[in-house]
């Protein structure tokens, strides 16, 4: 490296180009504001902390789909399977530890949940390497249905349709116990989401992340330039499964419960819907989507308890038909138009 800098001076254009590239991974004001507001919700909405941690968990699940679908282009309807696996793995660990010892430690639980989900994700990733979008949709859905059935049938392990009772995580870091108001749950979920988000952000801005977008764009050419396409897809699918598993583990720990509802089909479908709402391929799409989805569910559910899904569906159809790329796609389009108009003047 030092030899290179001594013997070779990059051209001014290259220096400028490098600044442009690196600028893309710099934190923007909107981004910082997003996280500051998210943290401030602890004080702004003290009565809604349980809902907010649920949103953070759903956002993490949607983020996991964004990594797999939004960046690598793997269409999936089965992310709920990994969420469920993570929830049951962490739940069983916490139950086993009965509120004490390392098994009940929430952070260890996260790794157990995420690790199990990643393992199953890795093993099933080979099924989604080949085939069209439709094949992938069916394969991921099929895997999710199998997991769902196993959870329902293996009563001795999972409690079957009654759910997994007695999930007792010990205090976070041995200090903060999970309380009734959801204060610990909120700070804990938010912190985990933030840490995993920062890692996901680094991944998608790295050469590895760029290669995923290239595979999504044109697998034929990525092979022609010598890229190990299958290896990259296995890697991101496994990472995505880990993320979904951690989200599931968070859900089991914060609600102290795991139920077959966690692995049900609608879990995968809802999370995908949130991502499409917010806009895939921006990292923030899933987070925004989960906020909107859960808020709509809450608000509309109060107004029309029976028909809230009608309005949800109508919004989805409207968004997909008239705004390509979800809310963030819309914003990006407006920004592009503004800069073009600005440039014309």
């Amino acid at each position: 490296m030092t030899d290179m800098t001594l013997s070779h001076q990059p051209s001014p254009e290259a220096v400028k180009a490098r600044a442009v590239l690196l600028g893309r991974s710099r934190w923007g004001i909107a981004e910082i504001a997003f996280w500051v507001i998210a943290a401030a919700c602890y004080f702004l909405l003290p009565t809604k902390l349980s809902l907010l941690s649920e949103i953070a968990i759903l956002g993490l699940l949607a983020l996991s789909i964004d990594l797999v679908l939004g960046y690598a282009g793997i269409v999936t309807l089965g992310q709920g399977a990994f969420f469920g696996i993570g929830a049951y793995a962490a739940g069983l660990a916490a139950k086993h530890g009965a509120g004490a010892g390392p098994w009940s430690d929430p952070l260890i639980g996260l790794f157990i949940g995420g690790g199990f989900a990643a393992l199953i994700g890795f093993l099933t990733s080979f099924l989604v390497l080949r085939g069209s979008d439709l094949t992938r949709l069916m394969v991921t859905l099929g895997v999710a249905l199998i997991v769902d059935e196993i959870v329902n049938q293996a009563k001795w392990l999972t409690g079957g349709s009654d759910g997994l009772q007695g999930v007792l995580p010990s205090p976070v870091l041995g200090i903060w116990d999970f309380d009734l108001f959801g204060r610990t749950a909120f700070i804990y979920s938010m912190s985990v989401l933030f840490v995993l988000f920062v890692i996901a952000r680094a991944i998608v801005k790295s050469p590895f992340g760029l290669s995923l977008q290239a595979i999504k764009g044109n697998p034929l050419r990525t092979r022609a330039i010598g890229m190990p396409v299958n290896g990259r897809l296995v890697a991101i699918y496994t990472i995505g499964s880990f993320y979904a598993g951690v989200a599931g583990a968070l859900a089991a720990q914060t609600t102290q419960f795991a139920s077959p509802d966690y692995v049900a089909f609608h879990r995968s479908a809802d999370a995908l819907l949130m991502l499409v709402f917010g806009g895939a391929g921006h990292l923030y799409g899933g987070l925004l989507g989960s906020i909107i989805f859960r808020t709509m569910q809450d608000v509309l559910g109060n107004i029309t308890p029976q028909y809230w899904q009608f309005w949800l569906g109508a919004t989805l159809v409207g968004l997909v038909l008239f705004v390509r790329g979800g809310i963030l796609g819309l914003l990006a389009g407006l920004r592009d138009r503004a800069t073009r108009n600005g440039g014309a003047k």
Partner: protein, 253 residues
């Protein structure tokens, strides 16, 4: 001493159902070759290139790259072993920028494609190389635009830049100038002329003007089989070639 053979096919056959798209082709490409592959439409030129580059698997026969039998190798492995190609129809990444496209290609070549923690652009030597390639092809000014919205001719140039970024030993150019405006064709020729002398080049092209300016040797492919091989003069003066191919359009060399 004759130069070593970088790329070779032996009795290469490809069948699509009842159609014999590649018919027992024996072909040798020495180091430093400037070889043109011509033939009427449907002669199997692109099929041949797809077999060589690993996009298609041959029905029978063998392919050697720099003396190694690569017949069973994937396109990816062949790329790492020094084979690069461009595509007749642009195969680019519409959502990336030209600079990102080249950064990606260079990273792959240097086995840095798995790097996941440092942002793209942290390797300044990669950026420098990518920018100088873009400059060489005259598309430096569009380094940061979205590839998908670039003019067709610019995309064609990027197509070549990607292959060059692989630093290949063997480069297959599948109709690089097709659809490129006249003034940018010159640019393509200049770039090809400026390639290192030891790179072996195959050019598939319909533009005879370009072929005869570029090639030092020519193969004519007809109905999937090698019809005749020779120097440009031999090919241009071969009455059989004139009949099956050049006869369609009067060519002045």
């Amino acid at each position: 001493m004759s130069p070593k053979i970088l790329l070779e096919s032996r009795q290469l056959v490809k069948r699509f159902g009842g159609i014999l798209a590649t018919d027992h082709v024996d072909f040798q490409l020495p180091q430093g070759a400037r070889h043109a592959l011509i033939g009427p439409n449907g002669a199997g030129k692109t099929t041949f290139v797809n077999l060589l580059s690993g996009v298609l698997t041959p029905t029978s026969g063998e392919i050697f790259l720099d003396g190694v039998n690569v017949t069973g190798w994937s396109a990816r492995r062949r790329a790492h072993a020094g084979m690069a190609r461009t595509f007749q129809i642009n195969q680019l990444f519409a959502d990336l920028t030209p600079l990102e496209t080249l950064m990606l290609t260079i990273a792959e070549r240097e086995n840095a494609g798995w790097s996941w923690f440092r942002p793209v652009g942290s390797r300044s030597d990669f950026v420098d190389e990518a920018m100088s390639l873009l400059r060489q092809l005259g598309i430096e000014d569009i380094a940061h635009g979205r590839v998908g919205v670039l003019a067709y001719g610019k995309q064609r140039l990027l197509e070549i830049a990607v292959a060059l970024a692989q630093k290949p030993k063997v480069l297959l150019l599948d109709e690089p100038a097709a659809g490129v405006p006249e003034h940018e064709r010159e640019q393509i020729l200049d770039v090809v002329a400026a390639l290192p002398g030891d790179v072996a080049l195959i050019l598939i092209e319909h533009d005879m003007h370009l072929v005869f300016r570029f090639a030092k040797s020519i193969s004519v492919l007809v109905n999937g089989g090698l019809f005749v091989e020779g120097t440009p003069e031999e090919i241009a003066n071969d009455p059989r070639v004139r009949k099956v191919y050049l006869g369609e359009e009067e060519v002045n060399v």
